[in-house]
Amino acid sequence: MTTPEPTIHVRIGSRFEDIELVDLVAAAALTHLGFEEEVADKVCLAIREAVANAVQHGNRLEPDKITQVVLAIGKEDLEIEIKDEGGGFDPESVPNPLAAENLLKPTGRGIFLMRRFVDAIDFEFDDSGATVVKLRKRIPEPPKPSNSESEVEI
């Protein structure tokens, strides 16, 4: 038997202010894992975009619908799952926000930012059609906690 990998499971309603909670918790986990601030900011933005989509498009801001976020700290990778209770969608049909005709559109950059800021992204749709977004990001080496620095001089 090996030591179980730490996981953080955040369960929120479908309110905008709960997105902030997920962002802060994810930032805490990334700090613990030794991510540099600049990288942590990008991963947090990817998570934030996925949660915003779950809350907004998946759960359509219906107050009783749940958004769940799981952060699983693996040996090499941080795996993040964002799950809603919505009706799913077709990720293939999302237009490219860099195309000239889309550049000035006010929306449509969330999934693009996710793709850019994590190492892997996958969309799954469960039996009810609800969306599970899976993000993966390599944990920096050495994967030690933030208080591991040491220097003893006598």
Binding site: R15, F16, E17, I19, E20, E38, D41, K42, L45, R48, E49, A52, Q56, P97, L98, L103, L104, K105, P106, T107, R109, G110, F112, L113, R116
Partner: protein, 112 residues
Amino acid sequence: MKTSVRNREGITIIDLQGKITIGEGDVMLRDAVHEAVAAGSSNIVLNMKKTSKMDSSGMGELIAAHEKVKASGGMLRLLNLPENILNVLGVTQLITVFDVFDDEDEAIASFK
């Protein structure tokens, strides 16, 4: 998020402080720009020196602000973009849409 508005040589400068993110900061950015335009400002500088983060909703409102100001016959300038925001505007190529300044005097002078 916190917005405050000041005037320099007929140019409206909106200082933004905090998060321009979904549900609150984005709405406050929109409101501040709409109120400034309604109050007769045509040329506007958004000073983002104290903006801590921006998500895709914030970017959407930034574009909307740009369009709104243009429609009113004025111009929008961005001032003092922090590194992380420069980065997301770069990745999304939105940086090509905006006139960006590092110096308030230069931003003001650019309207002349």
